[in-house]
Structures are given as structure tokens and as C-alpha cells.
């Protein structure tokens, strides 16, 4: 019986499957070249090819779905739950604390729970929720104000994190009413990304040690406490276990997807570590948690491209691609021992820009960066999106 090897399980495209079917038919005497559209036999061949192509996708999916390194999306969620007892951190909705005022000649207005919607110019919308103080339905008197109202983003995730004072558009029609103050009550976070969950799964084994913490165990504790699973935004954590502040000390550097760790997340991780480390009561502590030093990636250059896409579409797609690339850069940059270390090669950045697609379609382009140079990253540094001064120039083909 023929055996199947790992490398044999690959996706077969429809045309490849169809050609194999036709070759097999030809090998037993059917010349299929004269068939035309609508022929039942050709239709059966096309259907067989499509079924084969679809089943090959299923095979490839199954091949990757039950390995921590290759599983993604819902498969990884279920694998993590069943094999590692890790639940994917869910997304958190951003909240704002807002005050409203009503002009003297307007109102009064009765405001019901969930009936008011604010918007940011970029699109995210926020709806009023219980804040523990305001009694709904609340009255906004003519010439008066209401303060301390909490509005929650209608779509959970980091997309709704906007600077204080910027959510001031009243989408619900209320005559004479304006937003007089807008503060950030709670940051929103995205669902835990696949790489973070994969790291938590891998490093969980290190928690089995009962003697001393090792690097992986520390990473796991930090990611669980301050990552989306613990209500934070941390997606990566690394350990400096080289006695950085004297014998027996170690430090942790953390970052979220596109920025260094926020103070709240550092507090969460430090508390979780303190509970597991001897010397947490000493001054300074044996283990200290830091935000990774931010290292902005700045780019200046011109991108010449062909096609009918607008410059703004190209700019948005490039920004998105660069941010996706930055999320994958390890803390401290790449090491190419015995070559350069703590760097992000500029060639990799150029490749990201060159490979930008729009709607799944390739866009032919040439990238010319001004003074291109590898980005030098501080030890344990987090590369963040800096200033992208890229000019997009459409050229005729």
C-alpha cells in the first residue's frame, strides 16, 4: 500500500486536478480534447476536479490545524483550549467618559440608556452604557449639562482607541446638545493574536517546574497576566536573564502589537511575577518588568506604481502592510549571527512595500527610499511605526 508523506499533503488547484483527471482518462483510451462546454462527461470531469481541489484544501487544513506552530484562527483557539488549557483572550471595547451640555434655547432632553451615539471622525461609534452613577432615563436640562456619562465602543478592539477630546460628534440628533469633555475611560484591545497564543501554549510547559522560574515560564506568566487573556494588550515579552542588575536579578521587557507596554500592563505583569519570585519584597526587586524601549521605524521615499488604484488606496495598503510586518519583528530586532544583530534589514522593509497588494491583487511597483539603511534596534527594543513619508506616484504602463 502506498504511503503518504507529509510533503504529499498539499493543496491541488482545480486546473491541476482536472489535468490529472484528463491524463488518467487519456491513459485508458479516452481522448478528451474534443469535448465542448456543456458535455456531461466534461462536466463530470470538472466536478471531480473541483471536489478533489476542495478536499485537498481540507487535507491541508487538517494537516496544520492540530499543531501549535501552524494552527491559526478558530483551529488554534480550539487546540489551545483542548491541549494547553489556554483560552484566547477576547477583545475589549474602548470606553469614554463624557460630558454633554445643552444650549439655553434648546431641550430639555430625556436620555435613555443606549440611546445616545457618539462618533469619531475616523468612523468608530460609541453608545452610552450604565456608569453606576447616572440614573436612566436621565434629563439633560435646557441650558444645563450631564457629566460622567460612559460611552462604550460599539465594536470592540483597539480600532476605537482615540485620543482624549476627539470623540465629539453627536450622531444621535439632539437639538442644541454638544460634547463638552471627552476622556479615555478604558482602552480597547484586540482579540489575542495567533502568535501570542502560540507562545503562551509553548511556554506553558515551563510552568511545570517547581524549583525555579526559567525564561519561558516568566514569558508565560507575563503574557497570561498582561496579554489579552488577562485583560491587557501585551503580545510579546522577553526576559533578560543575564543578571542585568547584579547576581540573581532578571528583567522582563514587554510590548503590545505596535507599541511598548502601557503602564497598566506593566503593573499587571509585575504583580503576577512578584507572586512567583523570591526577592519581590527587596528594593530593588529581583525581577523588574519594563516596557520595551521603543524604536520608531521612519521611512522617506517614493513608490512608483502601475494600475488604476488611487494614491490614497496605495498609502493605506502600505501602512497596513508595514504595521503587519512590524508586529512580527521580535523584540530587539533580528539576529543574523555571525552577521549583524539587533537590526531590521532595510531590504526586508522594501520587500514589504514592494509586495503590497490591494484586494488580493498584485500591484507592480518600484520603491526608492531616501538614505536607506538597516534599522538598528536597541537590546529588547520594540520597533514601532514611525513617520512614513512616502510619496506614491502612479505611472502609466
Amino acid at each position: 500500500m502506498a504511503s503518504i508523506n507529509w510533503a504529499d499533503i498539499v493543496e491541488i488547484l482545480h486546473d491541476e486536478a482536472k489535468q490529472t483527471c484528463l491524463d488518467l482518462l487519456e491513459s485508458v483510451g479516452y481522448t478528451a480534447t474534443s469535448w465542448q462546454e456543456g458535455e456531461p462527461a466534461l462536466a463530470a470531469t470538472e466536478l471531480s476536479a473541483e471536489i478533489w481541489a476542495q478536499l485537498s484544501k481540507v487535507a491541508v487544513y487538517l494537516k496544520s490545524a492540530f499543531l501549535n506552530k501552524t494552527a491559526t484562527g478558530e483551529a488554534l483557539t480550539r487546540l489551545s483550549d483542548s491541549h494547553y488549557d489556554n483560552r484566547r483572550g477576547t477583545s475589549v471595547a474602548a470606553q469614554r467618559r463624557t460630558s454633554l451640555a445643552c444650549a439655553a434655547g434648546s431641550g430639555p432632553h430625556t436620555i435613555n440608556l443606549g440611546a445616545l451615539v457618539l462618533a469619531h471622525p475616523d468612523g468608530p461609534t460609541y453608545r452610552n452604557i450604565e456608569d453606576g452613577v447616572t440614573v436612566y432615563p436621565a434629563t439633560l436640562p435646557s441650558g444645563g449639562s450631564l457629566s460622567g456619562l460612559i460611552f462604550e465602543a460599539e465594536v470592540a478592539g483597539a480600532e476605537a482607541n482615540k485620543s482624549a477630546g476627539s470623540v465629539t460628534i453627536l450622531q444621535t440628533t439632539l437639538a442644541g446638545v454638544t460634547v463638552t469633555s471627552d476622556a479615555i475611560e478604558r482602552y480597547g484591545t484586540d482579540e489575542e493574536p495567533d502568535p501570542t497564543l502560540q507562545t503562551r501554549n509553548t511556554t506553558k510547559w515551563a510552568l511545570l517546574t517547581e524549583f525555579e522560574l526559567i525564561d519561558d515560564a516568566v514569558r508565560n506568566i507575563c503574557l497570561t497576566a498582561a496579554g489579552p487573556a488577562g485583560g491587557g494588550a501585551i503580545t510579546d515579552a522577553v526576559v533578560d536573564s543575564s543578571n542585568p542588575r547584579g547576581a540573581g536579578t532578571f528583567d522582563v521587557y514587554m510590548a503590545s502589537a505596535l507599541a511598548t507596554a502601557a503602564a497598566g500592563d506593566i503593573t499587571l505583569a509585575q504583580a503576577a511575577i512578584d507572586a512567583r519570585v523570591f526577592g519581590s519584597g527587596a528594593t530593588p526587586k529581583t525581577c523588574l518588568v519594563f516596557g520595551a524601549p521603543p524604536v520608531p521605524l521612519n521611512l522617506i521615499g517614493t513608490v512608483y506604481y502601475q494600475g488604476s488604484y488611487l494614491e490614497t488606496e496605495m498609502e493605506l495598503a502600505t501602512q497596513t502592510a508595514l504595521e503587519e510586518f512590524i508586529q512580527l519583528i521580535p523584540l530587539g530586532g533580528y539576529n543574523f549571527y555571525p552577521g549583524p544583530s539587533n537590526v531590521v534589514p532595510i531590504n526586508d522593509v522594501e520587500s514589504v512595500i514592494r509586495d503590497v497588494q490591494i484586494g488580493g491583487q498584485d500591484v507592480k511597483k518600484t520603491v526608492v527610499l531616501t538614505a536607506p539603511a538597516d534599522l538598528s534596534v536597541a537590546a529588547f527594543g520594540k520597533v514601532t511605526p514611525g513617520t512614513f513619508t512616502l510619496t506614491f506616484v502612479r505611472v502609466s504602463g
Binding site: 493543496e11 488547484l13 456531461p40
Partner: protein, 141 residues
């Protein structure tokens, strides 16, 4: 393209109505009519898709489901034009002319199609309801 092989040599499988367990063979002009009937009851794009590389497979432009025009406001002349255009896609059809007549308040259609192929003209008549397409007459013109 129509004269590359003799039309009487072309063969196909019975394609009208229910599936026949013995899968009878049809040939020549009869095979052509079966192919046209399949075309006239297949929704455009039904037998097509896009693979993982974005490449279209199958026959994206195959078929015009004539039954879609029942109980619609499409005039019979437009229905006839659609049927003619679909028939002309078959490489053995050289000319096509159709006359559509709606009956029973638009619930049933009588479609008479005159075809010219390499052997000469012929006419076949279809009765179309939402449920099925039936070949009711075939005659040499």
C-alpha cells in the same frame, strides 16, 4: 468551427429530464438539442468558481436559465433574444431564431427555437415552467 467533424458523429449523454440509470447515448442533432436544453436551464455562472490563486475554472458564461423570466416583467422579445444568444454559444449552431410566448399569466412559457446547423435548419419547441423544461416538439424546418 462547425465543420471540423460531422455533426452526426458527435455524441453525448441523455440530458433531458430525470437521470436515466442506463445513461443512454444520444448523437448528432439530438445531442445538440440536449446540449441546448441544458444551456437553457442552467443559471449563468452556476458551473464555475474561483480557485485559491484567483483563477476562474469551469464555464463562467455558460447557461441562461430561461425559467427566471417567468412571472417577470421581461418582454417576450427580450426572452427570445436571450435564448438565441445562449444557443449561438454552441459551436455547432450557425444561426438561431426564437419566439417566446407567455401563457397562464406568465407562469408558463412556450419557446419555439429555429436552429441552423451544418445539416440544415430545424425547429424545436420547449415548454418551460418553474419546475421543469420539456422538449415538446422537434421538426425539420
Amino acid at each position: 468551427m462547425a465543420d471540423l467533424i460531422d455533426i452526426s458523429e458527435t455524441v453525448g449523454l441523455w440530458s433531458l429530464g430525470d437521470f436515466k440509470p442506463d445513461m443512454p447515448r444520444v448523437s448528432g442533432r439530438e445531442a445538440l438539442i440536449h446540449r441546448l436544453c441544458v444551456r437553457l436551464q442552467t443559471p449563468r455562472g452556476r458551473f464555475s468558481g474561483v480557485d485559491s490563486n484567483g483563477k476562474v475554472w469551469g464555464w463562467p458564461n455558460f447557461g441562461t436559465d430561461i425559467a427566471q423570466y417567468l412571472l417577470s416583467k421581461t418582454p417576450p422579445s427580450a426572452i427570445a433574444s436571450a435564448a438565441e444568444a445562449e444557443c449561438l454559444k454552441d459551436e455547432q449552431v450557425e444561426e438561431a431564431a426564437a419566439v417566446a410566448t407567455l401563457e397562464d399569466g406568465g407562469r408558463r412559457m412556450h419557446l419555439e427555437i429555429a436552429i441552423l446547423d451544418a445539416l440544415g435548419p430545424f425547429v424545436f419547441t420547449l415548454s418551460i415552467t418553474q419546475a421543469k423544461l420539456t422538449l415538446i416538439e422537434l421538426q425539420a424546418a
